[in-house]
Amino acid sequence: HVYLLLSKCVGLLYSSASSLPSRCFRCKDIDVLPTLKLSCFPTALTMEIVYVYTKKRNEFGRQCNFSDRSAELHVDILPDPSLAVNFIERDPCDVPIQCTQEMSEHEVNTERFESDTRGINHVEGGWPKDVNPHEMEQTIRFRKKVEKDENYISTVMQLGNNMEHCIKQNNAIDIYREYFEEEEVVEESEVQPSAKTINVFRDPNEVKRTASSLSWHPDGSRKLAVAYSSLEFQKVSKDMSLNSYIWDIENPNKPEMTLKPVSPLVCLEYNPKDCHILVGGSYNGQIAYWDTRKGSQPVEMSTIEHSHRDPVYRVIWLQSKTGTDTFSASTDGQVLWWDIRKMSEPTERLILDPNKKGNLDNALGAISLEFETTMPTKFMVGTEQGLVVSCNRKAKTPAEKIVCMYSGHHGPIYALQRNPFFPKNFLTVADWTARIWSEDIKESSIMWTKYHTAYLSDGSWSPVRPSVFFTIKMDGTLDVWDFLFKQNDPTLSVKVCDEALNSLRVQDNGHFLACGSQLGTVTLLEISSGLCTLQKNEKALATAMFERETKREKILEARHREMRLKERSRSEQSKEEDTKEGDGEESPEELITRIEKDFYEIVEAELKKRDKGEEKKVADAIKSD
């Protein structure tokens, strides 16, 4: 039997080559070996491949004997292109495939719970069962009963006390009112005072000289004029340059301008009225002035005959209509006044003779000058001998020019400056201390710093704070003192460099300062704002402080005077008694013998005391043993 393809079939049938008889499942007549046939169902387009086999009846139930057979191709159905007509090709579409678990999404809604906000009005309640709240009598009775309760009484008393306290509190002061509106928020600067080095200007020459004087440009302090010289006696070498420089503070590499004097400049000052003019005092005693517009050479110099005989240590511009007056001081004992338009001769001369005789041999050498433009007739001179001489320029006779002297220092007074806020008080810097004086007290300073280990070489008040001043020492440190805050120690001590510092100048804003060292290095420092902003009440406090100290010194002075008077009166009395015996005055020899005797007595007494002390020590040692 060969089954053939019917026209409605999908695929072709290839009959097996061996058309062996097989029991056809339809006809069921011949038992044949398995053959492949295709059953086709005219209704469906699907293909069913059926494999039919027959079995002999007597072989039913027999065990299966499996055997290997090679692969046989049973069906190979090739597609029929003609059938493609029945199909429509689909547009290529992207189908995502993911190799994951298949999951599904579900939504669940719980049963709705409705909530509502309600208020409860408290109707009178809490009454015990037996009391009817509506019955006035019962409630009153209840209340009366409670009021009789001891507990109630004590509680109410106690609570009442507390309550009263709070009520009174409320009545006393309104805690929410803005009480301190007017006061500004005080910025508590917790910042430690500090000084920061901004720039360092080094002497460009090989042989280093001391930066002996500094002067800020009067207009905005953009420039700094530095005078270089060697102040050590006879240490001037041939290679040493004579030049002084003007530096622009922004450019530390190269000085902006050079000033070429004949002899090295010891001091240098800008004219506060004309920022192009500088006057300088030189080592050989001459004064010269420069105009920065005209070049490095001095415009004019003073004649040698009429100049100082020693280096000019300080030169200051005076307050005058022409703005051309200066005066200079030197250790030769003279203070000379100049008009820069005519430098051939000084306009005035003052000899610092303490005996007021104008004797140059006796004169004190001047190292520093002080002049305050608010007091143009007065000026002060600090001397090498440690005295401060206060002078009056307008005095008629030279003798009257020297008004008074203040003593108290042991060495030359390197700096002398009035307090910009309290001109009656001035600062002196000399030997190992800095002292603050009051003009009225001549015997001693009213305040002073402790004795340091190094010499103080320069000092200056802060132009913005009345109680702050700066000092520099020979060991290279800069000290900033705030006398209202601390008097024992400087408020800030900064080591600027390893060599000695010689000069100091504070800028007018009090914020920056420059200090010059022995090797010609000028350091520009910035002071922290706490030290250069005026604190509230500072002026009042400083006034109080100065007044207090002045008063103290005045009292001490008065006391000393009293004691001296007493001594004098006593010695005069004893002198009167002695006059009967002879000349009361001792001759020098007698004086010397008496002094010698006193001296030896004191020495012997001291030695005896020491011996006794040693004996005692030995005795104690023995005792303890």
Partner: protein
């Protein structure tokens, strides 16, 4: 004894700015009051709950601690509550303006 209580309460009432005084017991029953009934009842009920809450707050934070006084300042006045185990003293005051 009773007179002292009277005196204290009267003194409190006559202080400057005091609007009203109430003494409430633990159940919320006003024992003494200088205000009208409805206001008293309102104050008593509400403040009682608030005091309880305040006390429990203080105790929650530190069990050794306890509420001693409660002051509520509002725009119009200040309500001061002095609580106790059994009773509570409430004062409404207008602080000094």
């Amino acid at each position: 004894m009773c007179a002292e209580v009277e005196e204290t309460l009267k003194r409190i009432q006559t202080h400057k700015g005091v609007i009203g005084t109430i003494v409430v017991n633990a159940e919320g029953i006003p024992i003494r009051t200088t205000l009208d009934n409805s206001t008293t009842v309102q104050y008593a009920g509400l403040l009682h709950q608030l005091t309880m809450k305040a006390r429990s707050t203080v105790r929650d934070i530190d069990p050794q601690n306890d509420l001693t006084f409660l002051r509520i300042r509002s725009k119009k006045h200040e309500i001061m509550v002095a609580p106790d185990k059994e009773y509570m003293l409430i004062v409404i005051q207008n602080p000094s303006e």
